[in-house]
Symmetry: C2
Subunit: 249 residues, 2 copies
DNA sequence: TATAAAGTCTGACGCAGCGTCAGGGTCAAC
DNA sequence: GTTGACCCTGACGCTGCGTCAGACTTTATA
């Protein structure tokens, strides 16, 4: 089934002019052109257009998009997964901006005070997503999804929980320059373990250790944790590993 | 305290060239210029720059941003609130895209089938955020913020929690065509109440009722809840209200 | 204190990604 | 066969900077 420009435009939300443009630059050509020169698009082109739009949303250059789609080892599925990750990251950035904005609102109201740096968190635009291609996958998608689902649903109750956790983290962060094997640190880590278990999930020693690993392997966690102090994520990973090993013995 | 271009650039993530440009077009001029022609920015300009960047993120033209900021009835606080809403909407769009993408992935894998329209959901770019000015506020910022904080920090443990909650919701959703005052429904609602309390927050009857209200007043909650079945949010609000009233009596 | 390195300035040009005409053909319906 | 809705192809314009180039200043180092 072939569609004309206006239909494609309608369906996808881009302008007819844009389709012309994409044709001109060889990014997306119609499957057929009638004698009168009318463009006609098939399902294939729609798919390609979807790809294009995703990449465009991520800030890619049209030229670059073309190269990607043309590349012989372009794997649709892999590309989709990559795009998903990039979008998630973009959302994370947006979330940071929203938080910054909310803080600013409070700041203006005089409820809190922000440093200049805090006022601009989330605004760094130097993110060429394609450069990150080589970056590690963070894998655990399920975690992500469930986090998301929960974040979207859970109401007030979280506040309390969050506060508890924050207090605990602060306490631990204060110890981050000590040897993670000391009694004091290990006791605090024990609290952390208990806290997690209290949330309904029984962490086996390995799982607990794995969680610690995640803190250093997954950038997002690292970034979050390091807000409590430089090197906090590494410290936690080490301390949690030690505790897990001891429990196992 | 005055800062030079590079400092401002560093702090805010924009390029020096951009600052030049904004000066040139009269969007953001330094407070002072030294004899040598060096630009010097004060706190005020930083605030203004933050405003500019927010609006820019929302896709406003620089010219338009200038007009807004110059307008005599420009109220900083109101503008910030507006921006917040616009950003939330942007995030909603991004969420839609992510969902579309995930669906596409499943589609490619052959797990499901999508219509063409579904393949492009979230791609409509005809969103001039300023037009939406008249839209309703959704209020409850605190809820939002705490959700956010937690979502960014909590790891694996949530999975379990989320599963529990989902199960409970499913159970409740199955009853959504009954009278919310029946014994059965109220017992389940009691479970839900207990679940929330178990998370560390003691819900007073009013707070619990208020939470129910939120489910129908706040679009985001409504959408989420209604995924469990049409009218589920309304049902929950009613049932929670009834329980709260009974507890109070 | 001299000199190198790093930062800053002002043009000027370039570029992506279309929007927006203008001028002209085409299709479908009545 | 005429009307109105579509479609085409140039061509020019516009925004928001990036990217030199060439000259001056400021700061760090020796």
């Amino acid at each position: 089934m072939l569609r004309k420009v206006s239909e494609v435009a309608e369906l996808t939300g881009v302008s007819v002019r844009t389709l012309h443009h994409y044709d001109r630059i060889g990014l997306l050509s119609p499957e057929h052109v009638t004698e009168a020169g009318y463009r006609q698009y098939s399902e294939q082109e729609l798919e390609r257009l979807q790809q294009i739009l995703f990449f465009r949303e991520l800030g890619f250059r049209l030229k670059h998009i073309g190269e990607i789609l043309e590349s012989p080892d372009f794997d649709r599925l892999e590309a989709l997964e990559l795009q998903r990750e990039a979008l998630l990251e973009k959302r994370a950035r947006l979330d940071r901006m929203i938080r910054t904005l909310e803080n600013t609102i409070q700041d203006v109201k005089g409820e809190i005070e922000l440093t200049d740096k805090e006022k601009f968190e989330g605004f760094d635009f130097s993110n060429n997503p394609y450069e990150d291609e080589a970056r590690k996958r963070w894998g655990n998608e399920a975690v992500d999804r469930s986090n998301q689902a929960l974040a979207n649903m859970l109401p007030e109750g979280q506040k309390r929980l969050g506060e508890q956790m924050e207090a605990l983290f602060r306490k631990l962060a204060a110890m981050r320059h000590q040897d993670p094997a000391t009694e004091e640190v290990q006791r605090a880590i024990g609290e952390w373990h208990a806290f997690l278990n209290g949330m309904g999930y029984a962490y086996s020693p390995e799982a607990f250790k794995g969680l610690g690993q995640l803190y250093v392997q997954d950038e997002r966690f690292t970034r979050n944790m390091d807000q409590f102090g430089d090197g906090f994520a590494r410290f936690m990973a080490a301390a949690m590993g030690i505790r897990a090993d001891r429990l196992q013995a």
